[in-house]
C-alpha cells in the first residue's frame, strides 16, 4: 500500500467525492433532454394497484419488456406499484392524474367489484377504458379425497346441507363474486364462505382439510397440482388447451363465467387519439412472440378486446356485480371495540400508577445537558423539508441540498470549518440519490 501523508489522503478523499458529485449532476441534467413533439414524448407511467410480484404486476412487466424489446413505442413504460386499500389507492391516483396520456391504470375486474362493494369510490365511469388484455380463467378445486368429485355433486350437497360446505374465497373480490354466481345457478344452494386471503392460504386450507372447496386461477392450479388437488370445473366459455380434460361449468349445467382480463384505463377526459394510439400499441404487444410465449407459460390467453366489444363487456359485468350483495353470514366479534377497550384498560395501569405516585418519576440523569433544542430544531427542519416536497414547491434535489446544508450547519452550530464537508454530503445525497432511485430503481421522487 502506498504511504500517504494525512493531507494527501484528505485531498484524495475530496477528489473522489467531487468526482461522484459531478457524475450524479451529469446524470441529472440528462433527464430533461430528448423531447419531441408527437405523443408519447416522455415515459408512460403504468399504475399497478398491487404489490410487485403479483399476477397483475407480472403481466404489466411482460408488456413493458415487449414494448422495449420490439420498439413498439418511442418511449418506455414505467411501472409504479401502488398497493392497498382494495385497489382504491392506485385507482384514485390515476383518476386524479392529468388526462394527458402519461398515466395509465392497469387493473382487472377488481375495479368493478371494489366499486360495487363500496370499498373504492372509483368505477369504470371514472376512466376512459383503453383495452382489455390477457384473459385468465379460474378453476373450482377440491382435494383428491373429497367426497364431492364433480361440480354436480358439490352443488347438490350445497343444496341439501346449505351453509355447511366451507368455500375459501377472498371476500369481496372477483373470487367471492364468482362463488356467489355459482350459488345462484342452483336455487337453494348455499356455501359457508370463509375469508382466506390470497391463493397460497386457500391452498393450505384445502390441503389441511380446513376448507372443502376453493377457487384458484388456472396458473396457480397448474403450479400446485401435485399437492393432491382435483379440478372439478373450469369457469370459462369453452375448454382450454392446458387443461383439456376439465369440463367447463357451462357444460355441466352451471353457466358461470369467472374469466378475468387486465383492463387498461386512462383518466377521464383523455384525448381519444391518445386512447386509440395506446390501444394500438397494446394490440401489437399481444402479438409479439415474447408475449405469446410468456402468456402461455402463465396460462393466460393472449386476447385483446377493444372498442364497443370491450364497452359492452364492461357494462354487462358491472351489471352482474351490482346485483350481487355479499354480506358476512357469521356474526364476528368487533375487533375495533375490543382493541380500544384493552388500550383503555392498560393505559389505566400505566398512567394510573404514575398519577397515584407522582414522586417516583423525578429522576436526575448525570452527564452533559440534553440538547432538545437541537433535536427538535432539526425535526422542525425535517417537517419544512417534507412540506416543501409535499406541496410541490421544490423538487427533491433542491429541497435535499437545502435541508442537509441547513440542518448540518445548525447541528455544528454554524461551524464554518465543517461547511465544505456538509456541502459535499448535501450534493452527494441530492444528486446521487436522485440518480440511484430514478435510474437504478425506477422509483419516482417528488
Amino acid at each position: 500500500m502506498i504511504r500517504m501523508t494525512p493531507v494527501q489522503r484528505s485531498y484524495l478523499k475530496h477528489a473522489c467525492i467531487v468526482g461522484l458529485i459531478l457524475l450524479s449532476i451529469f446524470q441529472y441534467s440528462k433527464l430533461g433532454s430528448g423531447l419531441g413533439s408527437e405523443y408519447p414524448r416522455k415515459p408512460i407511467r403504468v399504475v399497478v394497484p398491487f404489490q410487485s410480484g403479483g399476477g397483475s404486476d407480472t403481466f404489466v412487466r411482460i408488456a413493458q419488456k415487449a414494448i422495449n424489446d420490439y420498439e413498439l413505442m418511442p418511449q418506455p413504460l414505467v411501472v409504479v406499484n401502488k398497493p392497498g386499500g382494495g385497489t382504491s389507492i392506485g385507482s384514485s391516483y390515476v383518476k386524479d392524474a392529468r388526462p394527458d396520456g402519461y398515466t395509465v391504470l392497469c387493473l382487472h375486474e377488481a375495479l368493478m367489484v371494489a366499486k360495487s362493494t363500496g370499498q373504492s369510490p372509483n368505477g369504470p365511469d371514472d376512466f376512459e377504458a383503453v383495452a382489455a388484455t390477457g384473459e385468465f380463467g379460474v378453476v373450482i378445486l377440491v382435494s383428491e379425497d373429497s367426497p364431492y368429485q364433480s361440480l354436480g355433486a358439490l352443488m347438490e350437497a350445497a343444496k341439501a346441507k346449505p351453509e355447511t360446505l366451507k368455500f375459501g374465497v377472498n371476500l369481496n373480490t372477483p373470487s367471492h363474486f364468482c362463488a356467489i354466481m355459482l350459488e345462484n345457478t342452483l336455487p337453494g344452494a348455499r356455501f359457508r364462505f370463509v375469508a382466506t386471503g390470497g391463493g397460497a392460504h386457500r391452498l393450505a386450507g384445502v390441503m389441511g382439510g380446513h376448507l372443502d372447496v376453493i377457487i384458484l386461477s388456472v396458473g396457480e392450479y397448474l403450479r400446485f397440482q401435485q399437492n393432491g388437488l382435483k379440478a372439478i370445473a373450469y369457469l370459462g366459455e369453452e375448454r382450454i388447451d392446458s387443461i383439456p380434460d376439465i369440463p367447463t361449468g357451462k357444460e355441466l349445467g352451471f353457466p358461470v363465467f369467472g374469466g378475468n382480463l387486465h383492463y387498461w384505463w386512462f383518466p377521464k377526459g383523455t384525448d381519444q387519439t391518445i386512447v386509440d394510439y395506446f390501444a394500438g400499441v397494446l394490440g401489437k404487444v399481444m402479438e409479439t412472440d415474447y408475449v405469446l410465449q410468456k402468456t402461455k407459460d402463465l396460462e393466460i390467453l393472449p386476447r385483446i378486446i377493444v372498442g364497443d366489444e370491450m364497452n359492452t363487456r364492461i357494462r354487462q359485468r358491472t351489471e352482474t356485480f351490482d346485483l350481487i350483495k355479499p354480506t358476512s353470514r357469521v356474526e364476528l366479534p368487533d375487533f375495533t371495540l375490543w382493541t380500544l377497550l384493552s388500550v383503555g384498560l392498560f393505559s389505566l395501569f400505566v398512567f394510573g400508577k404514575r398519577w397515584l405516585n407522582p414522586k417516583a418519576e423525578i429522576q436526575k440523569t448525570d452527564g452533559p445537558r440534553l440538547r432538545y433544542d437541537l433535536a427538535f430544531g432539526t425535526l422542525l427542519m425535517t417537517i419544512v423539508y417534507v412540506l416543501l416536497m409535499g406541496l410541490r414547491i421544490m423538487p427533491f434535489v433542491w429541497a435535499t441540498i437545502l435541508f442537509v446544508v441547513a440542518s448540518g450547519l445548525f447541528l455544528t452550530r454554524f461551524d464554518k470549518r465543517k461547511f465544505v464537508s456538509i456541502l459535499e454530503v448535501a450534493l452527494l445525497m441530492s444528486f446521487g440519490l436522485h440518480f440511484v432511485f430514478t435510474q437504478l430503481f425506477t422509483i419516482d421522487l417528488p
Binding site: K82, G86, S88, I89, L379, V425
Partner: protein, 498 residues
C-alpha cells in the same frame, strides 16, 4: 434439489458474494455505531430492494441481519455503549476486561462466540424448519390464532420489566393496524374519511418512524456527549486457543441452544436470548467464576455473544416455516417477503424452495464472512463511533424520508413516519417498550385474519380454540405465562413491581 442448485448458483455467483460482503459489512458498521440498529438498517434497505430479484434482495437482507447482531459487541466492549440492544449483556463484562488491558482478548472471545452461536443455530435452522413447515399445513386458523396470542403474552411477560407497559404498547400497536379495510366485511373502518388510510398504515413508515426517527431525536439530544475509545493493539490475542475451546465448550453449547430456543419463540429476539444465556451461565458457573461476573468474566462474554447470534437462526425458523416472525427484525423481513410477492409459511417450501435455501445459505456464508471480517477490521470499526453526528443524522433523515416515500410514492407515508417517530420518542421517554408495539402491529392482522377464518368455518363458535390439541397447548401456555408472574408478585409483595 433443483432449488438447492438455483440457490447456490445465486449465492456463490460474484454478485451473490458481493451482496453478502456488502450486507455483512453494512450490518456490522450499523451495529457498531451506537444508536443505529439492525432493525433501522434493514427497514431502510427494504425499499432499495423493491426492484431487485427477491433472491438477491434476501441475500443482502439476511447478511445485514447477521452483521448487525454481531457488530454491537465492538462498541459494547471498547466504549461501554452497546451498539445494538442485543449486546447489552456484553457491555457488563466486555468493557471491564478491555479496561484491564485485554481489549483484544475481550473482542476475540465475543467474535468467536458469535460465530459459534451462529453456526449452532444454523444447524437447528436447516434441520427444524422443513419438518415444522410440513407439519404446519395441518394447523388450522384457530391454531395460528392461539400461536399469535402466545406471542403477545411472551413478549409482554418475558420481554420487559413491566407487563402492563408492554401490554399497553402492544394494544396500541394492534390499534394502529386496524384502519383500512376490514377483511371479513370488506367495509372501511377507522379511516376518519381519509382516503389515504383506506389501505391502512403501512409497515415500513411505521417501523422507520418507531425505530429510526425516535432514535435520531434522542441521539441528537445527546450530541454533546464525548466518546473515548480503548485502542486495540494486537490482533494475535483474538484467536481462541485449544484451552479456550475446552473451557468454553459447554458454555458455548448451552448458550447457543438457549439463544436458538429464545429465537424460535415468536416475538422475542436477540436481547432476551442474550440475557437468558447470561443468567444461565451465571447460575451454573463455579463460585470463583461467579464472582467475576460483571467485572470481566470470560464466561459471561461468551454466553452473551453466542446467544445473541444464535437467536438469528432460531428466529428465522418460525418465519420461514409458519410465517410468524420470531423477532422484530424478522417482522421486517416478513414484510419484505410480502413486498416481493412471497408468502412465508408452510407453502414457501413448495412454492419458492430456492428462497428458503437462499435464506439458509446466506445466513451461513455471512456468518463465516462476519468472523473473518471482524477479526481483521475490528480495530478500525471502533472508530466509527466517532463519526460526527452533525453529518450523519441529516443523511439518515433523508434516507428515512425516501424509504417511506418509495413504498407507494406518496407523501402520506412520510407524514405517517414522522408521526410514529414522535410517538416512539414519547414511548421511550415514558419507558414504554417499543418492541411490543411493532409485534402487535404486525401480528394483529395475522391474528384477526385467522380468527375470522376460523369463526367463519366454525359458524361463529370459539370452542375449537380449546378443542384442537395444538391450540389448546398454546392457550394453556399463554395462560400460564400470564398468571405465574402475577401470582409471584401477589405472593412476594410489590418489591419486584416495575
Amino acid at each position: 434439489m433443483e432449488a438447492l442448485h438455483t440457490a447456490s448458483t445465486y449465492l456463490f455467483s460474484v454478485q451473490g458474494l458481493l451482496l453478502v460482503i456488502l450486507g455483512t459489512v453494512l450490518g456490522i458498521t450499523m451495529g457498531a455505531i451506537p444508536g443505529l440498529t439492525g432493525a433501522m438498517l434493514i427497514a431502510l434497505t427494504l425499499p432499495l430492494t423493491f426492484n431487485m430479484d427477491p433472491v438477491n434482495a434476501f441475500i443482502l437482507l439476511i447478511s445485514m441481519y447477521v452483521g448487525a447482531i454481531s457488530g454491537g459487541l465492538i462498541t459494547a466492549t471498547l466504549l461501554r455503549m452497546p451498539g445494538t440492544p442485543a449486546s447489552i449483556m456484553t457491555t457488563m463484562d466486555g468493557y471491564p476486561m478491555a479496561r484491564s488491558g485485554k481489549p483484544g482478548r475481550a473482542l476475540g472471545l465475543g467474535i468467536t462466540a458469535s460465530f459459534v452461536g451462529g453456526c449452532i443455530s444454523w444447524l437447528f435452522l436447516i434441520s427444524l424448519s422443513g419438518p415444522i413447515a410440513r407439519y404446519s399445513t395441518k394447523l388450522g386458523p384457530f391454531d395460528f390464532f392461539a400461536l399469535v396470542l402466545l406471542a403477545f403474552v411472551l413478549i409482554a411477560s418475558v420481554g420487559g420489566k413491566s407487563m402492563s407497559r408492554a401490554f399497553f404498547s402492544a394494544s396500541l400497536g394492534v390499534l394502529a393496524s386496524l384502519p383500512g379495510i376490514d377483511k371479513a366485511t370488506g367495509s372501511l373502518r377507522l379511516t376518519f374519511g381519509f382516503e389515504e388510510l383506506n389501505g391502512g398504515l403501512k409497515l415500513l413508515p411505521v417501523l422507520i418512524g418507531m425505530f429510526a426517527i425516535s432514535q435520531i431525536i434522542s441521539d441528537l439530544s445527546r450530541i454533546d456527549e464525548k466518546v473515548t475509545i480503548i485502542p486495540v493493539k494486537r490482533t494475535r490475542d483474538m484467536f481462541f486457543k485449544l484451552k479456550d475451546w475446552k473451557d468454553q465448550a459447554i458454555n458455548l453449547m448451552r448458550s447457543s441452544v438457549i439463544g436458538t430456543w429464545v429465537g424460535i419463540l415468536p416475538g422475542i429476539g436477540a436481547n432476551i436470548g442474550s440475557v437468558s444465556a447470561y443468567s444461565a451461565a451465571k447460575s451454573m458457573a463455579k463460585p470463583e467464576e461467579q464472582a467475576k461476573f460483571g467485572k470481566g468474566s470470560e464466561v459471561a462474554i461468551v454466553a452473551s455473544e453466542s446467544a445473541n447470534n444464535a437467536t438469528i437462526g432460531g428466529a428465522l425458523i418460525p418465519l420461514i416455516s409458519l410465517g410468524i416472525p420470531g423477532s422484530v427484525i424478522d417482522a421486517i423481513l416478513l414484510g419484505g417477503l410480502l413486498i416481493h410477492g412471497l408468502q412465508p409459511g408452510p407453502l414457501l417450501f413448495q412454492q419458492n424452495p430456492e428462497m428458503v435455501y437462499t435464506i439458509m445459505g446466506a445466513m451461513f456464508v455471512s456468518n463465516v464472512f462476519m468472523f473473518f471480517f471482524m477479526i481483521i477490521a475490528v480495530r478500525y470499526l471502533a472508530r466509527l463511533a466517532s463519526i460526527p453526528r452533525s453529518l450523519l443524522m441529516p443523511v439518515i433523515l433523508v434516507f428515512c424520508i425516501i424509504g417511506s416515500f418509495a413504498l407507494s410514492t406518496r407523501m402520506f407515508d412520510v407524514w405517517t413516519m414522522l408521526f410514529f417517530g414522535l410517538l416512539g420518542f414519547g414511548f421511550e421517554k415514558m419507558k414504554i417498550p417499543l418492541a411490543p408495539f411493532v409485534i402487535g402491529f404486525i401480528l394483529a392482522p395475522i391474528a384477526e385474519e385467522n380468527l375470522q377464518m376460523g369463526l367463519m368455518a366454525s359458524n361463529g363458535s370459539f370452542l375449537p380454540l380449546i378443542q384442537r390439541p395444538v391450540s389448546l397447548i398454546f392457550m394453556i401456555a399463554s395462560v400460564a405465562l400470564l398468571t405465574i408472574p402475577l401470582y409471584k408478585r401477589f405472593r412476594y409483595g410489590h418489591s419486584q413491581s416495575n
